[in-house]
Amino acid sequence: MSEHPRVIRFADVEQTFGRADGGAVTALDGITFDMGRNEFLAVLGPSGCGKSTLLRLIAGLIFPTRGTVSIYDLAVTEPRDEIGIVFQSPTLLPWFDVLGNVTFPLRHKYGRVSADDNARALDLLKLVGLTDFARKRIDELSVGMQQRVAIARALLLDPDILLMDEPFSALDALTRDEMSFELLRIWSERPKTVLFITHSIPEAVLLADRIIVMTPRPGRVREVIDVGLPRPRSMATLSDPTFHALANHIRGQLFSRAVA
């Protein structure tokens, strides 16, 4: 990724949180890594390793106790427009229809939605495969479809960076696989710098250019893995020997940690 300009940089980032009893918990410790333009980076680790904290630091929702997080070489001091977020649950608004949910960021930020904005939102719905669902109510959609709406919503302001916090973990296994390939298709049509947080090893290997494997309490980078599987990836990738070798390697890493 060295040929691409740097988009995100973590430089020796530490994040501690105060506890109610006055003590402090170190969520992240000594985190250093770069992300290049349009790179797909997966962050993999057990729960409690500070994966979500990482995402919130980039989003400018929290700020590091030590070290710096920068986007385009500028330290993050507040939330920035270049970022779209997809959360674990779709978190859609039941009082709007599908289209209203996709355009919500504009309505929320500027107080109005133009005809152009609606047209753009319809394009995004087409991109995520929900062309005919623009006027449906949210509760008429399956969770998988709701998460597609959430992806379209995150893409509305055409962000350079897409932050995804275990976006498919609430889906059943079949929908999850389907959504992984959908995400790859969307990413190839609208290239973005993607930080994808997950605790699924196959998901990380299938999707990412690089994988950061983290250790818990405090969250540290255990290993950074170049996936190197050819793109475009497909069902065939799942039976590629490299895929299995990588998955086994990561499993070994996480398992040795669990035993120790």
Partner: protein, 277 residues
């Protein structure tokens, strides 16, 4: 129904046994509440006649209806409108004050630390006991009655609205903050709409409390209204007439509760569970 019947008994025009049983079951389920009510009234009437219960102890339904018809429609309307006016004014005041108050409590730690305990104390005070004091303090007008109604009706709205405002998914708040939309828009676009189902459950509780508040106030000091009418009737041992007033009061309360549900269904249907839309 028709398609069910024809498909079930295609050989003849007579509906099949199964279809008839299914139809009976559906209608039985629909009519069950009304049937139970009618049954209760019939048993009540029968018991009053069979055991010759004196009407000042428990008047029969027919005696209540007769007593109700002896009072003129204009008189009834006068009492109903008086009670309704006080109840709705108190209710409106409760809504107008409780929802902004809940927003303030959620936004300010200082207010929630100082004001909330006071609200709990007010709520814990038996308003019935305070009512005579309020009437003496505020004088003879609708005002003390509206204040009493307000005091009885406001608390559930505050508590429910606060709960609703706090129940917004954290991720949506983060979405709002990542868009730098500001606290006002966060409240208007996300927190308040999310609180709507909570607010409506409180509004349904409070509308019936408002009727109770109006009646309590009329018991203390009034010259009109259904509460006054019941007091007046009992003091002259016109028990069937008091029961007639009570029946109208219950009907009024039920109608207002129903109206709340309809308003919710008309204006914010998404806030209802799917089965109730």
């Amino acid at each position: 129904m028709r398609s069910q019947i024809t498909s079930a008994g295609s050989s003849s025009a007579v509906p099949s046994r199964k279809a008839v049983i299914a139809a009976l079951r559906v209608w039985g389920d629909r009519l069950a509440p009304a049937a139970a009510f009618v049954g209760l009234v019939v048993i009540w009437e029968g018991a009053c006649r069979l055991f010759a219960i004196p009407s000042f102890l428990l008047p029969s339904p027919s005696a209540i209806v007769r007593a109700g018809l002896e009072v003129s429609a204009t008189q009834w309307l006068g009492h109903i409108s008086a009670t309704l006016r006080v109840a709705l004014m108190g209710y409106a005041a409760a809504i107008a004050i409780s929802i902004p108050l809940a927003v303030a409590l959620v936004n300010s730690r200082f207010l929630s630390r100082t004001l909330y305990p006071i609200l709990v104390i007010v709520q814990s005070t038996p308003i019935v006991a305070v009512a005579p004091i309020i009437v003496v303090t505020l004088g003879a007008s609708d005002l003390p009655r509206v204040v009493i109604t307000f005091l009885i009706a406001f608390f559930p709205i505050v508590v429910s609205t606060v709960t609703g405002l706090m129940a917004t998914p954290e991720e949506l708040i983060e979405l709002s903050r990542s868009l730098r939309a500001g606290r006002t828009r966060e409240m208007l676009h996300i927190r308040l709409p999310f609180a709507v189902p909570y607010i409506f459950s409180a509004l349904k509780i409070s509308i019936t409390l408002s009727i109770i508040g109006a009646v309590v106030a009329e018991f203390v000091a009034a010259e009109r209204g259904l509460g006054f009418f019941i007091m007046f009737s009992t003091s002259f041992f016109k028990i069937p007439q008091a029961f007639a007033g009570l029946a109208i009061l219950v009907a009024l309360s039920l109608a207002l509760f129903r109206l709340c549900t309809l308003v919710q269904r008309w204006f914010v249907p998404w806030s209802l569970p799917k089965s109730e839309r």
